[in-house]
Symmetry: C2
Subunit: 172 residues, 2 copies
Amino acid sequence: MELYVERGFENTTVAEIAERAGLSERTFFRHFSDKREVLFSGSAGLAELLTERVAAAPKTAAPLDIVSAALQAAGAVIQERGEWSKQRQAVIDANPELRERELIKLASLASAVAEALRRRGVKGPSASLTAEAGIAAFKVAFERWVQQPTKRNLPRLVRESLDDLKAITAGH
Amino acid sequence: MELYVERGFENTTVAEIAERAGLSERTFFRHFSDKREVLFSGSAGLAELLTERVAAAPKTAAPLDIVSAALQAAGAVIQERGEWSKQRQAVIDANPELRERELIKLASLASAVAEALRRRGVKGPSASLTAEAGIAAFKVAFERWVQQPTKRNLPRLVRESLDDLKAITAGH
């Protein structure tokens, strides 16, 4: 990550990353399929976290509230990584290919959440819609968190974003 | 497009596309930067349509209703292209690289809508959130339209999808 920030993603080789991390290239490729995956390997863990949280939510909870709670938990995990998450975003924003990969990962998080809602009995289009709207609100919250100079709490921004979405759709 | 459906996107060359369309390769490249753009050149027109519709909406209209009306208009344009739009989607779904490009184009439509809302005086995070949620609802409507065998009306599915979103966020 340091190297990506110093030199830019394009100008950093796997050999250099492995050296900085004290790994052989072979070990690097045992952990990551390519140098992009250094940035995206966390998303499988996030998908798992979201799926678990949705599955474990109380039976009577409304789908959007379930998704909101799960996304706040994901926000807490990202918040813990703090600076790393922000540096990562700066690297991604500077590279169109990485921005595309990021959108794919967000879309796959939305699919994972929709699937988890369907397993709870939420109907097809509603499950997709709740998941996509939740991820959209998360994306907006995350952008606010990355951009602001002060340290605001990401889980709280996620909750605010979902509350804003409710206000917007209620026509306020 | 016929060639993409017959042979798959990967196995079709620009020379073949140009020949089928009765164009020289040179003319092809005057219209499209690469063979992917045959599938995505319409999105600039959609962004323009959405931006115009948002700008021209009545002053008193609620932001989400403005976005809903604009997306229904975009749905009508896509609906007119009918079979072409569905074939296009089948080609995209079969190719991960094209799916990434599709997500980028959707994200840029959301940015265009957010920007148009901001020019109407809608505040930063609300503008982004309304635009992202609207595009999310559009995406779900479009998937339903592509998947169903019967010919349901896309603008109507878009409106239903936005109405479902309102019901979901109201906790019903």
